[in-house]
């Protein structure tokens, strides 16, 4: 069973004061909490790296928690920040591929990650952008194949993918 808010807060206060055993328990419990947090948001095989990334950030920034405030919203804010950073890096990677016009050569891992990350927000995109992302980044079609299938020009497909992913990243970033 996961630790509750009062337990987390007590352990965190001890960690700020330099209590090593309490910190060990805190980091382990925070790891489990983060695992559950990210499981619904990113591809399963990327969860552990992101959990470790957040644990390191959490450890380095532990002085920013105020004991008068709840712990879990603080942890969630850090987790969300690192998650956005993860998406941003992923987006940059996607943009680079589009510029190089080799989007069709995406690895299977990229396609899966893109699908899991984007699916939840897809409904907020204009139809043409969603279709372009779905066909190329999820369905694995080439730009040319997607162009033939949708009737959009190849340039338009690229633009729609670029704008769509950018919009998705912005939506995630703006979400409270």
């Amino acid at each position: 069973m996961l630790a509750d808010e009062p337990t987390f807060a007590r352990l965190m206060k001890a960690a700020q004061d330099g209590d090593k055993p309490a910190t060990n328990v805190l980091l382990s419990e925070a790891g489990l909490w983060l695992e559950r947090y990210f499981r619904r948001r990113i591809a399963a095989d990327a969860v552990d790296d992101l959990v470790q990334d957040v644990l390191i950030a959490f450890y380095n920034k532990r002085a920013t928690w105020d004991p008068k405030r709840p712990f879990l919203p603080w942890l969630a804010a850090i987790a969300r920040y690192r998650w956005i950073d993860h998406l941003r890096k992923h987006y940059r990677h996607e943009a680079k591929e589009l510029m190089e016009d080799d989007a069709v050569e995406d690895s299977e891992e990229d396609v899966v990650t893109a699908r899991v990350s984007l699916d939840r927000l897809f409904t907020h995109l204009p139809e043409k952008q969603a279709k372009a992302i779905e066909l190329v980044k999820i369905g694995g079609l080439s730009i040319r194949e997607a162009s033939q299938k949708t009737g959009q020009s190849e340039s338009l497909i690229k633009v729609n993918i670029h704008r769509g992913i950018k919009k998705l990243a912005a939506m995630v970033e703006e979400a409270e």
Partner: protein
């Protein structure tokens, strides 16, 4: 002690936690009021620096300062206070802690340059509202440059504090660095300026807020990401 050089995935989670626990040291908590104190200190330093360079203007003591002087500097102080409060709060990770006071106070401040532009147009159309282009300060843009230079001291303090903290919305923090430093830096310079006509104060004493806001919106995020 930090774990900045450790890459996620370089070891398994248990080993990572063990390594972090082993290196643990007590930390001094970062509080928003420390940031507020640092920003106030930087503003005072900027004001003293401006007074040394340009000389202190006694107009606000002997009563010769115009109402425009008080209105423009009062609004700058309000924008500076609201944006500095939001800025220091943004250094600490929180969820759903945003408020719109900075937006509204900046909107209020923007009434001044907008009113100045409308006045300029109506002067051109032949309506004299007690002001004219012959006002010596109307074209004296240098005050905006001096205000911007003073704002860099406040911006430096704000960025130093944000780097110690953990801002989770760097773009928003960037805006806040610009608005805070622009407002407080302009205020620090303006108290030395003897030009207190409407056109001068409404344009050149206020414009550093908007210039610094846009500049730091783009310049600050790379400096405060973590």
């Amino acid at each position: 002690m930090t774990m900045k050089n450790v890459k996620p995935g370089a070891m398994n989670r248990e080993d990572l936690i063990a390594a972090m626990t082993e290196e643990l040291t007590p930390v001094r908590r970062i509080r928003p009021r420390d940031g507020a104190a640092l920003i106030i200190f930087a503003t005072v330093v900027a004001a003293i620096g401006c007074s040394v360079v340009f000389g202190f203007w006694t107009g606000m003591i002997d009563g010769s300062a115009s109402p425009f002087f008080w209105i423009s500097n009062g609004l700058l102080a309000i924008v500076g206070a609201s944006s500095a409060t939001a800025l220091v709060a943004s250094a600490v990770p929180r969820v759903g802690a945003r408020n719109s006071s900075t937006t509204w106070s900046t909107a209020m401040l923007s009434v001044l340059p907008i009113a100045a532009i409308i006045t300029l147009i109506s002067v051109e159309a032949g309506h004299d509202h007690g002001t004219s282009m012959s006002d010596a300060g109307a074209l004296y843009w240098e005050c905006a440059a001096y205000g911007l230079a003073a704002s860099s001291i406040v911006a430096l303090a704000a960025i130093m504090f944000l780097r110690r903290g953990a801002p989770v919305a760097p773009d928003r923090s960037g805006w806040l660095v610009g608005l805070t430093s622009g407002a407080l830096g302009a205020l620090a310079y303006n108290i030395t300026c003897p030009l207190d006509g409407f056109l001068h104060t409404a344009i050149w004493h206020v414009v550093p807020v908007f210039v610094a806001g846009v500049f730091w919106r783009y310049a600050a995020p790379p400096l405060i990401r973590w």
